[in-house]
């Protein structure tokens, strides 16, 4: 029995099947085509872009190696502030988003105002550009003449991000709650579990796991939108790049800032894709 099995599984290693040969040939050909077309595009960029009339000027003002070397450490340092703002906003967004999502799921008539509030909240904050909320709250509330430290743009800028992003997170979580099949609720109800326990122990754990990749994407967007706070004061990386630009009359610091963002967001995006793919595989 074991012997027979051994020879059967060893067979393809000795002589590939007709299909394996065919697929290997197709694979080789598509790799070659992809390599050639990529090379052609790169060549065109390298040859054609420098032929543009303004290329020399652009090279000087955006890709100045000396300016880059002098400003990069300062930009990195300013980026720490972006990370800090992100770090305190993210957990607050998660909690607020969850609370709003739960508000929208309450069934009891006495709690109807809560349900209403959840709907209005998500409508408003998903319907506004983030920058507008940052301006309105970031300038509006300190304008009330609050004493220090309550006039800090950090507080109100963060609040703006939390309000907007928790509306998105709430919608994502709600879609996750809706995705849990009614039969799960039936099973919980048939065991005598209360609505609250059904939500907490049966529906939510599954829902949150399902929407994990979608929430990862929101986190990545948040990481970028932290830069919007620069418009109301905090000298984070985008603002710091602007300062350097004025100081040196050169745009290279913006390119440096872009690279720093990408260094964070590209791995994070890949990780979110990985989570999504793994989940698709699991659900199949």
């Amino acid at each position: 029995m074991t012997e027979t099995h051994g020879t059967v599984s060893a067979a393809p290693a000795v002589r590939p099947t007709r299909r394996a040969t065919y697929e290997a040939r197709v694979r080789r050909r598509s790799t070659t085509v992809a390599a050639l077309s990529t090379a052609a595009v790169l060549l065109a960029v390298v040859v054609l872009v420098p032929m543009a009339p303004g290329w020399e000027a652009v090279k000087r003002s955006f890709f100045d190696a000396e300016v880059f070397a002098r400003t990069f450490p300062g930009l990195l340092n300013a980026f720490l502030l972006d990370i800090a703002i992100f770090a305190w906003c993210a957990p607050l967004i998660a909690l607020t988003g969850l609370a709003i999502a739960l508000c929208r799921d309450v069934r009891s008539p006495a709690l109807f105002p809560l349900r209403m509030f959840g709907a209005v909240y998500t409508d408003i904050f998903r319907g506004l550009p983030v920058i507008l909320v940052v301006y309105l709250i970031g300038f509006g509330i300190p304008g009330l003449g609050l004493p220090r430290p309550w006039n800090s743009p950090y507080i109100w800028g963060s609040l703006a991000l939390i309000l907007v992003y928790s509306a998105y997170v709430a919608e994502v979580i709600r879609s996750g709650i809706d995705s849990i099949h009614q039969s799960q609720r039936s099973a919980a109800a048939s065991l005598g579990l209360s609505e609250a326990d059904t939500m907490r122990y049966v529906v939510l754990p599954q829902a949150l796991r399902n929407v994990m990749p979608a929430n990862m994407n929101l986190l990545i967007a948040l990481q970028k939108d932290v830069a919007l706070l620069s418009f109301i004061g905090p000298v984070e990386i985008f603002r710091q790049a602007g300062v350097y630009k004025s100081l040196m009359a050169n745009f290279t610091p913006y390119v440096g800032a872009a690279l720093i963002f990408l260094a964070i967001t590209i791995p994070a995006t890949r990780y979110a894709d990985y989570l999504l793919n793994r989940q698709r595989r699991r659900q199949r």
Binding site: S183, Q184, S186, A187, A188, A189, S190, L191, G192, L193, S194, D197, Y201, V202, P205, Q206, R209
Partner: protein
């Protein structure tokens, strides 16, 4: 003497479709009652009504003489006394088999894990799943999942168990292990109502068989008479199709 569970004139509609059209049924303590009939005859709906998963429109359902079909009654104390097992198992996929069985006793009866471990382990052992307690549902076969679902319902120590075509989704070779569980429960004196297509099983073990057709019980009686000498033409037609 009306027995453990007694239904009178039970009706249930979904929209304009009346699915249950006046059902009377008596189930005595320790009895096994089998509901048979074509798909759509109302078997599943009737079970869901008894468990109060579907509110009934009219009629009474008496459990130990107390009407549980009263509109506005809190269904949860009733559901603790009546367990139900579904065709599609409906286990909680993010919990192990043991956690599935312990969730409701913990949250509803307020008992802690340590106190539950003994009785729950005993249930798993009794139904041959002692080595599967820490497995997640997707690591179990259909028959094993269905047995876990039965254990989960039994862990609440119900007085009546309802089974809604629990072998219909199983591969034929897995049906036997689930029916064995039912046999054991019957022997231990559990009051049970089954919606089933397993005619051989119903004939062997049921105390009473009810043939449902178009939302009413067209004919009922002990399996010996209902299977061998059905009095209704429609019962005969149904049995000749499935036997």
């Amino acid at each position: 003497m009306t027995g453990k569970l007694s239904l009178r004139g039970v009706r249930k509609s979904f929209g304009d479709t009346e699915v249950i059209r006046g059902i009377d049924l008596d189930v005595g303590e320790g009895e096994m009652v089998c509901l048979i009939g074509a798909s759509g005859s109302g078997k599943s709906t009737l079970l869901r009504c008894i468990n109060l998963l579907e509110p009934v429109d009219d009629g009474t359902i008496r459990l130990d003489g107390v009407d549980i079909a009263e509109p506005g009654l809190d269904p949860r104390p009733v559901r603790r006394r009546i367990g139900i097992v579904f065709q599609s198992y409906n286990l909680f996929p993010h919990m192990t088999a043991a956690e599935n069985a312990m969730l409701a006793p913990r949250r509803v009866h307020g008992r802690d894990r340590a106190a539950l471990m003994g009785p729950v382990t005993a249930l798993f052992r009794r139904f041959g799943l002692a080595d599967r307690m820490d497995h997640y549902p997707d690591q179990l076969s259909g028959g094993q999942q269905q047995r876990v679902a039965i254990i989960r319902a039994l862990a609440m120590e119900p007085e009546i168990m309802l089974f809604d075509e629990i072998t219909s989704a199983l591969d034929p070779e897995l049906v036997g292990e689930v029916l064995d569980v039912l046999r054991q429960l019957h022997r231990d004196g559990m009051t049970m109502i089954l919606a089933t297509h397993e005619m051989g099983f119903a004939r062997e073990l049921a105390d009473k068989v009810c043939f449902l057709d178009g939302g009413v019980i067209l004919e009922q009686g002990p399996p010996s008479s209902l299977f061998s000498a059905p009095s209704q033409q429609r019962t005969r037609a149904f049995l000749s199709r499935v036997l």
